[in-house]
């Protein structure tokens, strides 16, 4: 946004994640997958039953979003992040399946933050409310599972230079806490 941005491609690896620090501004490119509440419940069920997931989870990045419908001539409608805390209970299963990165908005539970450190993962923030702008960085979109969930279906997206910022890094850094610490004037 303001500073120099790092270009990062998916799928993520431990080596890539170790270069990321809370506050780093990233331009993300490659394949990412969308899932929110109901899709996560189904994925968790599949993971617990040992079933094969409808996508390659190894090193994957999950974007918490329920896009608006694609108008004629576009691959997707507006697509900004939804609140991440609602997906916190599913994160242990998703890490187990191979996921390494998440994109959303809002702070995570203590358990998720510990897992991000323990599993060498990363949590990116996208700007909530900047949905039309973020839609512009999505170049391909395809529903790959749970079509019946409508906006909550599991989608495979190809993104190009999607602007995100590192909130929680694998070293325990937390941009939300750092931000408040720096700017709070509370007595």
């Amino acid at each position: 946004m303001g500073n120099i941005k790092k270009n990062i491609n998916t799928p993520l690896t431990e080596n890539i994640i170790k270069t990321l620090k809370a506050g780093d501004e990233i331009l993300l490119s490659g394949i990412i997958y969308t899932a929110r509440d109901m899709a996560h419940a189904r994925l968790q069920d599949m993971i617990q039953k040992g079933e094969q997931l409808p996508f390659d989870a190894a090193g994957s990045v999950i974007y918490y979003v329920g896009p608006s419908p694609a108008p004629v001539g576009r691959v997707i409608g507006s697509a900004g992040p939804t609140s991440s805390y609602r997906m916190d209970p599913f994160v242990p299963s998703m890490f187990k399946a191979g996921m390494l990165g998440m994109i959303g908005k809002g702070s995570r539970s203590a358990e998720v933050k510990e897992l991000i450190v323990g599993k060498c993962g990363v949590y990116f923030g996208a700007t909530g409310g900047a949905a039309a702008l973020l839609s512009g960085s999505i170049v391909e979109a395809e529903v790959i599972a749970f079509d019946d969930l409508g906006p909550e279906a599991l989608r495979k997206l190809r993104v190009k230079n999607m602007p995100v910022i590192v909130i929680n890094d694998c070293y325990g850094g937390d941009l939300y806490l750092e931000g408040i610490r720096k700017y709070s004037e509370e007595l």
């Binding site: 946004m1 979003v65 419908p69 908005k105 949905a131 004037e185």
Partner: protein, 281 residues
């Protein structure tokens, strides 16, 4: 009596649904532009710039400002010299929402029955309809697509009658603090005080229909609005919750008498995509 065919209400709701979701109001744009000057965090400034750019893209490309095109809240102020023909008001409003959300490629986010039938209604109906009767022969239709993320960070507290103004302030600050980045700051804070458990929430919601900068007509309440807004902006949450001075763009308070045994307070949070459109028929 002036007769109005409900088809006119349907058309208004349809057009306002599309317009509210794609075209940001001037008061919001101006407030965001001004807030860039006030913000001290470089990342915060950049986020505010992104939000303004987003509004321009949405308008130019006819896209929703936010993918969450909300629960459609319709506030109808109906002149007492008006009669309607052509059905019932809820159906007319719902039909407008149905047409607007389908034609406008807006997201359908309403689940039919949370307990027994958790399936999407696929047309964003029903709408939440609030009606107030006013003098005259006009109908004022105000429409607000209300996103779920900010709604989730809203709270009600039944305070003690012996509690003072500071307890109200503390509850507001605690609510904003707990919300953090979730309700998509910079937010607008809508506060209701007094009435009953249900009515206090309505007051908070109603306050969010005001334009940014429109103070409560009671000068003492207006003073509380501005001083509480300053307090909120000391929390350090900042744009997108990344730290900064601009946590809220506005804070509205609506007050109603209370029962001697109760002191209800409601805080309804509005996101940075504060969408309200109005038409007078």
């Amino acid at each position: 009596m002036r007769n109005i065919d409900l088809e006119i209400i349907t058309r208004a709701v349809k057009e306002l649904s599309i317009e509210a979701n794609t075209v940001a109001n001037c008061d919001l744009k101006d407030a965001l532009s001004l807030s860039i000057e006030k913000e001290v965090s470089p990342v915060g400034k950049a986020v505010l710039g992104q939000l303004l750019k987003n509004q321009n893209i949405a308008k130019a490309e006819n896209l929703p400002i936010c993918q969450d095109t909300g629960f459609t809240v319709v506030y109808l102020e109906i002149g007492m010299d008006v009669s309607f023909t052509g059905g019932i008001i809820q159906d007319a409003v719902d039909q407008g929402v149905r047409e607007g959300y389908i034609e406008g490629c807006l997201r359908k986010s309403i689940i039919k029955n949370p307990l027994t039938s958790p399936v999407n209604t696929k047309d964003n109906t029903p709408a939440i309809v609030h009606i107030e009767l006013i003098p005259g022969d006009k109908v004022k239709v105000s429409l607000m697509p209300k996103g779920g993320g900010a709604e989730n960070m809203s709270r009600i507290k039944m305070m003690k009658p012996s509690d003072g103004v500071e307890v109200v302030r503390d509850f507001i600050l605690e609510t904003v603090k707990r919300g953090g980045a979730n309700p998509c700051p910079p937010i607008i804070v809508g506060v209701g005080v007094g009435g009953t458990f249900d009515y206090v929430a309505y007051l908070a919601k109603k306050s969010l229909f005001r334009k940014i900068g429109e103070r409560n007509s009671d000068p003492e309440i207006a003073l509380l609005e501005t001083s509480w807004l300053l307090e909120v902006n000391k929390l350090g949450i900042g744009p997108a919750g990344l730290g900064g001075k601009v946590t809220a763009l506005e804070l509205f308070v609506e007050v109603f008498p209370r029962h001697i045994a109760t002191f209800p307070v409601a805080v309804n949070i509005q996101c940075n995509a504060a969408r309200v459109k109005t038409r007078i028929i």
